[in-house]
């Protein structure tokens, strides 16, 4: 190999191959973007869902929880929390339960992980629940395997 492959050849393989794989990646990403847009077309990102996403970010929820498996692993997965709280069967009940849960934090129980009180208004809580509901409806190839998240 030391005779057949020169440094210049190795360099050319590197640049050429990288360009090739990057172009393939960009093309596949572009195709995936169309699917992401289709998801939003079928299930629109309403102003409330968008507001909920910003509330989620403003309070850095992802640095304790995970959302579709990404985030910190200190607190439960929330990508499917809407389903876990029975939102598919009883939307009004799940909404109230989620809001009550967030209002009830921190529990202050010794030895339990503590979620801070974020003092969200009623409409902010609704936005956040709308965002979590929207997220639960993304086609995740049936992930997570169990409703436990």
């Amino acid at each position: 190999m030391s005779e057949t492959l020169t440094k210049a050849a190795a360099r050319n393989i590197f640049y050429g191959g990288t360009a090739f794989f990057f172009v393939v990646f960009v093309a596949l990403t572009a195709h995936s973007v169309t699917k992401a847009n289709a998801i939003a077309a079928a299930n629109p990102v309403t102003p409330s869902v968008a507001a909920g996403k910003h509330i989620w970010e403003r309070h850095a929820c992802v640095d304790c929880h995970s959302l579709i498996g990404e985030g910190a692993y200190y607190a439960p997965e929330l990508g499917n929390v809407w389903v876990r709280f029975g939102g598919k069967e009883d939307a009004a009940g799940a909404r109230e339960a989620l809001k009550a849960w967030m209002k009830g934090q921190p529990s202050g129980i010794e030895g339990r992980r503590q979620m801070p009180q974020f003092n969200l208004s009623e409409s902010e809580l609704d936005n956040l629940v709308d965002f979590l509901k929207w997220t639960s409806e993304i086609d995740t190839q049936n992930w997570p395997p169990k409703v436990s998240g």
């Binding site: 995936s32 850095a60 992802v62 640095d63 498996g69 801070p116 190839q141 992930w143 436990s148 998240g149």
Partner: protein
Amino acid sequence: MKYQSQKVALYYFAGALALFVAQVLFGTILGTVVVKPNFLADLVPFNILRMIHTNALIVWLLMGFFGAAYYLIPEETESELHSTGLAILQFWLFLFGAAAAVVGYLFGIHEGREFLEQPLWIKLAIVVVALMFLYNITMTVLKGRKTAITNVLLLGMWGIAVFFLFSLYNPNNLVLDKMFWWWVVHLWVEGVWELVMASILAFLLIKLTGVDREVVEKWLYVIISMTLFTGILGTGHHYYWIGTPSYWQWIGSIFSTLEVLPFFAMVVFSFYMVWKGGRDHPNKAALLWSLGCATFAFFGAGVWGFLHTLAPINYYTHGTQVTAAHGHLAFYGAYVMLNIAIMTYAFPLLLKREPYNQTLNMWGFWITSSGVAFMTFALTFAGVVQTHLQRVLGMNFMEVQDQLGLFYWLRLGAGLVTLIGVVIIVYALVVPGAAKQTSGVGYQPAE
């Protein structure tokens, strides 16, 4: 050290080491909160501690890369840096941005995407810092000798800046957000950062082993070819479950499995070069860190990455402590050890202390590496148990966490050992060794 301007690297190395200690300190605090959840809960919540832990890591690694670049580019190009003043200004701006971010986090000022929590103005400041850096090193390279090492390092550094721009894009559609979030996170750590890693390692091997540059540089291209040919499409292993098409399960599984190859090649190549080179370089500690880097990167990024990268396995392990285990060992092996390797090599030369006794530094190596390895094992066991209980049996999250207490205690212990090791490393780097090496027999001037 042949060029005066190389000294600016000292600023960056010092800043990096200070943040390194902070990062590990916050890590041990987090480890404590996991086993004693009420600790600090009213003062600083977990999410704030975590963003300081992860951000400090990213910033100090980048700071180390900048320092490494300022150190090696004058030597490679055989010319002084374009502007040392700009390099120093860039350092203070970067340090100020990092400090402002941390203080802001403590007061609840942050954005909320994982690792990209910096407020917009700090993100923009980072872009400015990157541009100052790129201008400086690009001008230096353009006027000097061009080597494969400078080419690859430059490409990696430009890539870091370009892909960071995706952090400014935050669409309301969560699926799009996640897709392009990975354009920063994955294309950094499994893409362009690896170019930086490979080029710095190549530089160290040339200096430490005395192997012919032509050989090292050819293999540098071969290895980074493997890195990017697999790593770019390897992004697919993050596109399994986030609303992206199912073909990513095939693409991601295949290409991310192949991502192990360049890491394996780096181990084989590094050891082979040391064996073949036969130079008895006095800086044994730098060689230890260089070989340790290749080895730990192979296990952390390669083996522990492969452990959960196949889609049918990742379906169960995604977002469990298995990921945390991989993250810790991979960052330690690939990037922490790389930074300490170049610092261990450069500090004695920059401070005109070589050759000197680096036994303490090597103790730091073994203690820290043992700590991180044990932490990884503890988290891996925690992850396997968690996967089974939560993802197979369907037990709820907090019930499962209660079952993992033992592993989290072990992890905290390993974290404390790591903290001790890190303090030793920093001390050994900064404070000159008491017992200077006196034997000059067989010593050839280090480059």
